[in-house]
């Protein structure tokens, strides 16, 4: 039964550098140096050590190593959840850039609970992560701002970077790097795209007033309209929530009340656009022949809807990469705030307005 044979003592114990040293007949220092490879060692010694390592199946203990000063650091990413494509892409970007820079990536979901978020921030301080990246919005109560600001300062003084990703700056009270995207510009571009197809009655559908992700989209839509001298009436500004359900229900209700007068819709998000399209289809209104529609986010689904949805692309993965680059290499990325561009990807849900 060789399997049971473990070198006496507690068989569950990981073998340590001392075990290796004894076995190889050298000192622990030598083992450490051989393994680190940054110190001259005689080939014969090296061989002995390597053999012992193999035989004992030795692996370093990262905690001990960290204590002694060489830290394998990590990047933490705090997010509400992971399945929404926007978050998923950011996470992927973060993970990949982190890996590329030799870091491990800790992901923590916070739901929409500010307390969990705060708890994780604290935990990351204990871990000694070299960056914590908070992605997406959180409803910002004053209490939350205050706490986060406090933690942000603590992190900063501990050398841990805090990056807000896909979320605007929270002002000077919370010192953080910002990796964001041009939200307002995307809405402006989308609306302009529809405008130049000849539409004038352009509804904005979806979004929730006060939300940091919604407001800039409202603003972009409004600015594009104003730039052409159009002042949209309140009936063209339909907000309340987002997602497929909201888009469907709201449009259905408008249709039923015969209160839908627009020839085009700028939706707050692709889900909302999809919902609106379903309602239109049920009412036998052709998209894009009778009404044009553009979404926002460019989720994978957008390309597969019918008709394929024209929408605004957010460089989510790049956002994640940018966040860690800013955190890890401040000299190459000295800006405290970088805003990535958005652009409209043209598919088939917008048609020229015929009169």
């Amino acid at each position: 039964m060789p399997r049971r044979a473990a070198d006496q003592a507690d068989p569950e114990r990981r073998s340590t550098i001392r075990d290796v040293a004894t076995r190889a007949g050298v000192s622990v220092a030598t083992v450490s140096r051989v393994l680190a490879g940054n110190y001259p060692t005689a080939p014969a010694t090296r061989a002995k050590v390597m053999r012992a390592v193999k035989e004992l199946d030795y692996v370093v203990n990262v905690h001990a190593r960290a204590l002694a000063g060489v830290t394998q650091k990590t990047i933490a990413i705090l997010t509400r959840e992971v399945v929404t494509p926007f978050y998923a892409y950011i996470i992927q970007g973060v993970e990949q850039q982190a890996a590329q820079d030799g870091r491990l990536c800790l992901v923590c979901t916070t739901g929409s609970d500010p307390d969990r978020e705060l708890a994780y921030v604290k935990m990351m301080r204990e871990q000694g992560a070299d960056a914590v990246i908070i992605v997406g919005g959180m409803t910002e109560t004053p209490e939350y701002r205050k706490q986060l600001g406090q933690y942000a300062q603590a992190l900063e003084s501990a050398g841990t970077k805090l990056v807000l990703c896909g979320r605007p700056s929270m002002g000077p009270d919370v010192p953080a790097l910002i990796a964001h995207y041009d939200n307002e510009g995307g809405a402006y571009a989308a609306t302009s795209h529809v405008l130049s197809a000849g539409h004038e009655q352009i509804m904005f559908l979806g979004g929730v007033p006060g939300f940091t992700t919604s407001e800039p989209r409202f603003a972009g839509w409004r600015r594009a309209l104003n730039d052409r001298g159009i002042d949209p009436g309140p009936e063209l500004f339909q907000t309340g929530s987002h997602g497929t359900h909201f888009g469907y229900e709201r449009l259905k209700e408008l249709l039923k009340r015969k209160a839908f007068k627009a020839t085009a819709i700028v939706a707050s998000d692709d889900g909302c656009a999809a919902g609106a399209m379903m309602a239109l289809r049920e009412a036998n209104i052709k998209v894009p022949d009778e009404v044009s529609i553009v979404g926002y986010d460019d989720v994978p689904m957008a390309a597969h809807m019918w008709p394929p949805l024209t929408t605004v692309r957010i460089p989510a993965e790049e956002l994640g990469r940018t966040a860690v680059r800013m955190a890890l290499d401040p000299r190459a990325n000295p800006a405290r705030e970088t805003i990535l561009g958005t652009h409209v990807v043209v598919r088939e849900s917008v048609a020229r307005r015929v009169r």
Copy 2:
């Protein structure tokens, strides 16, 4: 300038338990005990300590703590990528269960590179993670099997659990827990659903022969057919790849060659089904009136396609939760292998065959 005032010495240094002890006028043991809260301490002492902690903004060093024996352990999840819904949901499940059990969750993407996967496994051994969960398939070269088997044994003897999630067992050579789903059963159910709508010419579209995720789906389709005494010809078995692109191209080509004879399609995945639907639409063939179609995976997109896609639901998030439960609580989950059920979610892409 009180902010600059840091207690002499290097201002960048994290304050240690010793700093706190000095400041509070007690010993380090006392501080440790107050913080752990598992030892009787006089209220006055506790108060002094807490004040010092606050003033110095002290946080424990997890590495030191781990070295001393109290490990904050972590769960590692190794995945190809994070954005595919199947993976994203598993990750979410893992993370949430891990958090619930007080663990941190490390996610590592491996692309489809076995070497990176292996490297991460090794790294996790160094970290002393209490479980590593490998999700999804990897093309299994003998070399890879051998390596992984070796690591698996090493992990096991170190008390770290290895869980294969959403992937079948690799045999006795690689000792691992399995959290999988009934892949073959899903395909069987989907095909049966189509059969009982009166179809007999049922094509299987997509998947790659030899892949651990594809083969069971082929098998389920074939078994369902055989159970009704149907022996599908090779022209009804169209494999090669998966995803929208493949589905679209292959079906288009079949249509062009007038080689498409089926009245229903069982697709290897939802993307593939979506592609097929696009090709059908372009050929002016109505779904589901003229051909029925069912997908696999139930990605979010499936519900939003037109017509909404009937498909097989994989309990991905639950799969992730199960994986960590199995790893963390072997007494409550003694099985070395748990297979979660799949079921078909009926939407509108399958219609009764009219003759």
